[in-house]
């Protein structure tokens, strides 16, 4: 989750509130270190595919 790109559309939070936090100004951040448990992977990809600012990215585990 790139906070510099986020403009507060809140699509990620609306789709997967387990993975994102949102403040009073609409700024989203990833919960914890941003890692995604396997059962949420599919919905996490939805968050990526619905962000109008391309602020959510998939980074494969190294």
């Amino acid at each position: 989750m790139d906070p510099d790109k986020c403009q507060g559309h809140a699509r990620c939070y609306g789709l997967v509130p387990e993975l994102f936090e949102i403040d009073d100004y609409g700024q989203s951040t990833a919960v914890g270190d941003g890692s995604v448990p396997p059962e949420l992977e599919e919905r996490a990809r939805l968050a990526i595919a619905n962000c109008p600012e391309f602020a959510v990215e998939e980074i494969p585990p190294s």
Binding site: Q7, Y13, D24, Y25, G26
Partner: protein
């Protein structure tokens, strides 16, 4: 609304107030996207109309070349006063940074996810009460009896102004946005709003409440209270931006469901689809076009844009771009990949987007729960407004 001269070539002489464009802009955008894709006109000043997602979002992010100091799609043709009451317009929408940044932060918490949840039950009660008023008749004007009545009352609640004046507020907002090519109506709407809020500011100073207007009056920036013109501009913005837009989205969605029975049935039978369907209806029937002003001569996508030219930020056409959306001209209720920009893109993303989404969802939930079957009334005309905000204004529907 005045009639417009017929449009010959959409590429070089477009007119967003043309009757065909208002009723059905989709085919015009498709044609422009393939052949142009940024149209130009000299009607009401030199103006550009992008139609591709890529161009619209790039311009929205390039705030250096494309300023928000003039966001009205239809320029004001009357005489400007020498000392305007609102020297900053309606910040933050009509501002660039730095004014944009701090005025936007004043408004955002009022429309946060958490705050919007607290407006949901009053919105639901309001929708339900409106339906009570016409359900026994078996017919309604889904635009004027329902959609038009909802957002204005929610916004009045947030601003702490009387919901009894809802029709008056709606009239002023329509004067400003929909009848913008008629200078007398535009002046009437602007004056009505300003005089009303000037009086309200005086009342709130004496007797503050826990509403948005009172909070703006309490706010200090760098140790000083806000200038009255900033308070007035922000309050007028909340009303103007919160009324016509969401009402249009609710009306267009009901028009879609009245004319697409399979989608209507699916939304009734599968309530789980609602959250994706709300986004899809926002994409397909995005109501709002904003404007920008070119700050310095620039060539953009091969178009020689001059300082002072107007750009129409065609978010509705961007959302129908087949390069970005599969089956872009079809409503796919459970569309999974939907980076739509109905609320804009970049730093001017609609500050009220959480509120608008909630209102649209609740308005559809309440309607579909009480009126699961409905269709357009045979032989009665549906009329649309367009220009800055597109949506149905007369929408006669019948239900068993």
């Amino acid at each position: 609304m005045r009639t417009t001269a017929p449009v010959g070539a959409w590429e070089s002489d477009f007119d967003v107030l043309d009757a065909q464009y208002i009723a059905d802009p989709f085919a015009i955008w498709d044609q422009l996207r393939q052949t142009c894709p940024i149209a130009h006109t000299d009607r009401r000043g030199s103006t550009w109309l992008p139609t591709r997602y890529e161009d619209v979002t790039a311009m929205a992010h390039d705030i250096g070349h494309f300023s928000s100091l003039e966001v009205a799609v239809i320029p004001f043709e009357g005489e400007e006063p020498e000392e305007p009451v609102l020297p900053y317009g309606l910040p933050p929408i009509s501002a660039d940074p730095p004014l944009h940044t701090w005025t936007r932060r004043l408004l955002l918490p009022w429309f946060s996810h958490t705050r919007v949840r607290t407006y949901e039950s009053m919105t639901r009660g309001l929708c339900s009460g409106l339906i009570d008023g016409f359900i026994a008749e078996g017919r309604a004007d889904a635009a004027s009896d329902y959609a038009q009545q909802i957002p204005v009352r929610v916004i009045a609640h947030i601003l702490g102004v009387s919901p009894d004046l809802s029709d008056t507020f709606t009239g002023w907002v329509r004067d400003v946005l929909e009848f913008a090519d008629d200078p007398d109506r535009r002046v009437r709407g602007v004056q009505g709003l300003l005089e009303y809020f000037i009086a309200e500011v005086a009342t709130r100073r004496a007797q503050p409440g826990d509403d948005l207007l009172s909070e703006l009056l309490r706010t200090e920036v760098d140790g000083a209270p806000l200038e009255d013109s900033v308070v007035l501009g922000a309050a007028a913005l909340v009303l103007i931006a919160g009324v016509d837009t969401t009402w249009s989205a609710i009306g267009s969605s009901l028009w879609h469901l009245a004319t697409h029975p399979a989608d209507r049935t699916r939304m009734v039978e599968d309530p789980e689809v609602m959250s994706l369907a709300v986004e899809e209806l926002l994409r397909a029937y995005s109501p709002v076009t904003m404007a920008r002003i070119v700050t310095t001569d620039v060539e953009f996508a091969g178009c020689p844009m001059k300082a002072g030219d107007k750009i129409l930020m065609n978010f509705p056409a961007a959302n129908r771009d087949p390069a970005v959306f599969d089956h872009a001209d079809e409503v796919v209720l459970d569309r999974a990949h939907n980076r739509h920009v109905a609320f804009g893109s970049g730093i001017h993303r609609c500050a009220g987007s959480n509120l608008a989404r909630m209102e649209l969802r609740v308005a559809l939930e309440e309607w579909l729960c009480r009126i699961p079957e409905f269709h357009l009334a045979d032989g009665e005309e549906v009329t649309w407004a367009g220009g800055q905000v597109r949506g149905p204004r007369v929408l006669p529907v019948v239900f068993p």
